[in-house]
Structures are given as structure tokens and as C-alpha cells.
């Protein structure tokens, strides 16, 4: 028996205006694996992510979570299993305080009382944000918002974490903090990003998406060494793998 937790099988999606965003995407993710999905703007990354928790349904092909295909009948289960951290934390933090926001998911899952409190506290502790519990989302810094957004998802104890450009808009310190955090998680992870240095540190495997198809799928380091492939997909070697700007080594 395979231990694939997430399988994407010949996924195709066409938007109502006729744009074929995903033509043929196939890959799978194992338990505990961290996979980066990279690609140029418009390569289909966001469309792919929207399929993972059933916000979009495929035109053909399948997304399977724990061997069950995602369809209208099991959306709830899929959404609990796949924790989605959105591109803009402001979209995700909609409750008046951080505490209530983190509690929103668990409450919808039926948690109450002490159980709920423990769950929220644990999720906030996990991202070093316990001190932010009483604050309003609009009073947080970008880094804090991002960490709280992750906590709102962790509180539902998902099996897979899906993150859309998690380091976008963070200062170097907040970015470093977030990378440390991500490395600590033992969840299966799917991360999309243009921050390839972060990908290099966090994800051992990378899927390159280009014009709706998977162009490459393999160990991160191997893919980043293939300069021809990267150039062709409108990407670039991570800075940490490029030469020093002063001495050229």
C-alpha cells in the first residue's frame, strides 16, 4: 500500500473565460514530505492550490486526499485535512481578535470550553504568538499576521499544510523566523513561492510548473542546478547558489 497522502492525477482546469490554467498536472505527496511548487507568474500555481481544498473542482482528472477523491460530498473532510494559508493574511484574519480568529475553525468543528481554549493556546504557542491573542489583526505587523494566519490553520490540526508564498512581504528577520518555524513542522507541506532560497531551506522536493503542466519534479537541489530548465521556465537560480557579487566565486 502506498503512503501517499495527497495525489494529483491528470488534473485539468479551464476557467469560464476559456483560459486553460491547468492542462495536465500529476504528482503526489508522501507523509511528512515538504514539496515546493514553483513557476513563473501565471503558471497555474494558485489554481492548483485552489483545487487542494476543493474551492475549485477539476474539469477532468482527480485530486485524492488519503485515497478519497475530493468532490462535493466530502468537501468538509478535505478542508479539515488540508490547512490552507492564504497569500494575503488580511484575507484570512477576519475576526475581531487574534484569539477569536484562531478559534474560528475549531469552533466550526464543534470544539467548546476548555478543549477549545487549549487548542487555540497550543496553536498560538506553536507560532510564538501567545502574546498576540487579545490583539486585533489590524494592529499586527506583517510577520505577526503571517504567523497568526498559520496558527488559524494549525488549530484545526490538519494533516497537510498548504502555503501560498509564505515569505512574501516579510522583512529579513520575520522571514528567518518563519523559515525556522516551517522547518520545525512535521506536517506534509506544499509551498508555492518565488523565494527560492526559502524553498532550498524548507523543501526537499520541488515541482516546477510551467503553462499548466509539470515541467520537472525532483530533489530541490538537483532542479536548482539545472540552469537551462530554470531559464526556460522564467526562473532563476537562488541567490545563495549564485556566485559572490564581489569575488565571483
Amino acid at each position: 500500500m502506498s503512503h501517499h497522502i495527497l495525489e494529483i492525477d491528470h488534473l485539468r482546469h479551464v476557467y469560464p473565460d476559456g483560459t486553460e490554467a491547468l492542462r495536465e498536472v500529476t504528482f503526489s505527496v508522501c507523509h511528512g514530505e515538504s514539496v515546493a511548487v514553483i513557476g513563473a507568474n501565471g503558471a497555474g500555481k494558485s489554481t492548483l492550490l485552489a483545487h487542494l481544498n476543493g474551492h475549485l473542482l477539476p474539469h477532468s482528472g482527480e485530486v485524492r486526499i488519503g485515497h478519497a477523491p475530493v468532490d462535493r460530498s466530502n468537501l468538509h473532510e478535505a478542508r479539515r485535512t488540508v490547512g490552507m494559508v492564504f497569500h494575503d493574511p488580511d484575507d484570512q484574519l477576519f475576526m475581531p481578535t487574534v484569539y477569536e480568529d484562531v478559534a474560528f475553525g475549531p469552533m466550526n468543528l464543534g470544539l467548546t470550553g476548555v478543549e477549545l481554549q487549549n487548542c487555540v493556546a497550543a496553536a498560538l504557542r506553536r507560532v510564538d504568538a501567545e502574546h498576540l491573542a487579545g490583539k486585533a489583526p489590524y494592529n499586527l505587523s506583517a510577520g505577526e499576521k503571517r504567523r497568526v494566519a498559520i496558527a488559524t490553520v494549525l488549530s484545526m490540526s490538519p494533516d497537510i499544510l498548504v502555503m501560498d508564498e509564505p515569505t512574501n512581504g516579510l522583512d529579513p528577520y520575520a522571514r528567518r523566523q518563519l523559515i525556522g518555524l516551517l522547518k520545525d513542522f512535521h506536517h506534509s507541506k506544499i509551498v508555492t513561492s518565488h523565494d527560492l532560497d526559502m524553498v532550498l531551506e524548507v523543501c526537499e522536493r520541488t515541482v516546477v510548473l510551467s503553462q499548466g503542466v509539470v515541467r520537472a519534479d525532483g530533489p530541490t537541489l538537483e532542479i536548482f542546478r539545472d540552469e537551462a530548465l530554470l531559464r526556460e521556465c522564467r526562473l532563476e537560480k537562488p541567490l545563495s547558489m549564485q556566485g559572490c557579487p564581489v569575488c565571483g566565486k
Binding site: 474551492h55 468538509h76 478542508r79 490552507m84 492564504f86 481578535t97 486585533a136 489590524y138
Partner: protein, 270 residues
């Protein structure tokens, strides 16, 4: 209204004040809402020529500001800035109402001036009370208090959503408007066409944001209803607070405190 930026600063300032931790901050919001309502109703129920009897009512906002350790100068400045409409209408009173009501030596004071002064004092009182309530309680808590006093849940949800995204959208709108200002020299380019296009784009982005939010909510098990919020406690302190202030307002409404005091003082004078 002032610029987007200034309005946001005001919002944030009041919001931060509400995070204070004094005895009045800790009171159940319902108590503060109720007391403020009684206050406003009592103040506006005075006749149009009433002036001196209104003055003792300042005790309420002043006490709350002092007890809540709010910045009095800041709130006073806000009170002074608002309600231009009331002043604008009130200033007409002296023109139309020339009945002499009070003789002070050789000075005749007309009803118009008296009622204008009364309007100004009323404005100051009601505005000060409203701002103090917000600064002591915070908008979220006021909403919850109103729900428990009978406001429909769907409307409360709307208020909370609005309050959350006010900051995001006002900043977005402020940025767009600044970008337009920087490229429109003088009055050219700040006309209706660019305004409508700016609003249209802002509206589109807003709509897309709503779609993303909806997605985020669904991702976390949203089914169309919001989980109930935690409960506060309407204890003895709250009852005492409401009763004390309501009783005081009603007494001050029935008896002109300032004039009684004045009679007392002038009674001792020759």
C-alpha cells in the same frame, strides 16, 4: 471629513484607548452603553432655551475621562472639530429668533443666542459622551453589548466585518487616492472621470478580496453562521454604575443643578 489617513489614525487611537485597563474599562460594555443612552436622552430632552441646567451634565464625560485615564485634550479637540452641521444650523437661530429673554444689566440676550448656545453645549455633551463610550469600550465590545441588548446577529456580524476591513480598505483607498494626487497637477486629473475609475478599481479589488475571504472562511469550516462569542458578566458593579448615573441624570433633568448652586452662592452675597 478629513483625509483617509487622518481618519485612520483617529480610529486606531480610539481603538488603542479602549485597550486600557481601568475600573471603567473593565465594566461590562452593556452598562456603559445603557448609561450613555440615558445621558443622551436626558440631555436632548431639555427645552430649546435651556443652558445652565445642561452644564452639570458635563460631570459624566469628565468623570469617565478622568477615571478611564483618557487623554482629555485629544478628546476635547475631537469634540471641537465635529458636528459642523449642528453649528451651521444653530448659528441661524440668533437671526430668526430675536425675542429678548434675559436682561443682564444693559445687555439684552435674545432667545436665538440662548438657543444657539444651548445647541453648542448639547453638541459638546453628546459628542463627548459618544467618543468617551467608544474610547472606554472599543467598538467590538459595543457591538456585542448591543447584540445582547437585542440587535440582530446578522447586523452585528456586518459591523464586526466592516470594522475589521475598514482599516485594510481605508489604507488601500488612501494609497490609490495619494497615487492619483501625485500625478494630478492642480485640479487637472482630479475630476469625475478619474474618480469613478479609481472607485471602480477599488471596488473590483474589494470584490476579489471578498471572494478570497469567503474561500478562507470555507477552508475553515464556515457554514454561514458565526459561532457565538463569549459571555460577559452584568454584576453588581454594573447595576450600581447604571443606577447611579441614571439617577443622577434624572435628578439633573428635573432640577437645575447649576441654578440651585448659583442661588445658594448668590443667597449669601448681599
Amino acid at each position: 471629513m478629513a483625509s483617509v489617513h487622518g481618519a485612520l489614525l483617529d480610529l486606531k487611537r480610539l481603538d488603542q484607548l479602549a485597550a486600557g485597563d481601568t475600573a471603567v474599562h473593565r465594566l461590562d460594555p452593556r452598562a456603559k452603553v445603557l448609561a450613555t443612552l440615558v445621558f443622551i436622552v436626558c440631555v436632548v430632552s431639555f427645552g430649546r432655551y435651556e443652558l445652565s441646567a445642561l452644564i452639570p451634565f458635563f460631570i459624566f464625560p469628565v468623570c469617565l475621562i478622568a477615571a478611564g485615564r483618557l487623554p482629555a485634550g485629544y478628546l476635547a479637540a475631537k469634540v471641537a472639530l465635529v458636528a459642523p452641521f449642528a453649528i451651521a444650523v444653530g448659528i441661524c437661530n440668533p437671526l430668526f429668533d430675536r425675542t429678548v429673554l434675559v436682561h443682564l444689566g444693559t445687555l439684552d440676550i435674545t432667545g436665538g443666542w440662548l438657543s444657539f448656545a444651548s445647541i453648542v453645549v448639547r453638541t459638546a455633551l453628546t459628542v463627548a459622551a459618544a467618543l468617551t463610550l467608544t474610547a472606554l469600550t472599543g467598538f467590538t465590545s459595543i457591538c456585542r453589548a448591543l447584540v445582547r441588548l437585542g440587535m440582530p446577529k446578522a447586523f452585528a456580524m456586518q459591523l464586526l466585518f466592516l470594522y475589521r476591513y475598514l482599516f485594510v480598505l481605508a489604507e488601500e483607498g488612501g494609497r490609490a487616492s495619494r497615487a492619483r494626487e501625485l500625478r494630478s497637477f492642480g485640479r487637472k486629473g482630479s475630476g469625475l472621470a478619474s474618480y469613478a475609475s479609481l472607485l471602480g478599481h477599488l471596488l473590483l479589488r474589494t470584490w476579489q478580496r471578498a471572494e478570497r475571504m469567503h474561500m478562507a472562511m470555507l477552508a475553515r469550516g464556515y457554514t454561514g453562521t458565526f459561532p457565538a462569542a463569549q459571555v460577559g458578566r452584568f454584576g453588581a458593579r454594573e447595576v450600581a454604575f447604571v443606577l447611579f448615573w441614571s439617577a443622577l441624570f434624572i435628578i439633573l433633568r428635573l432640577y437645575n443643578g447649576a441654578e440651585l448652586l448659583g442661588t445658594l452662592v448668590t443667597g449669601y452675597l448681599p
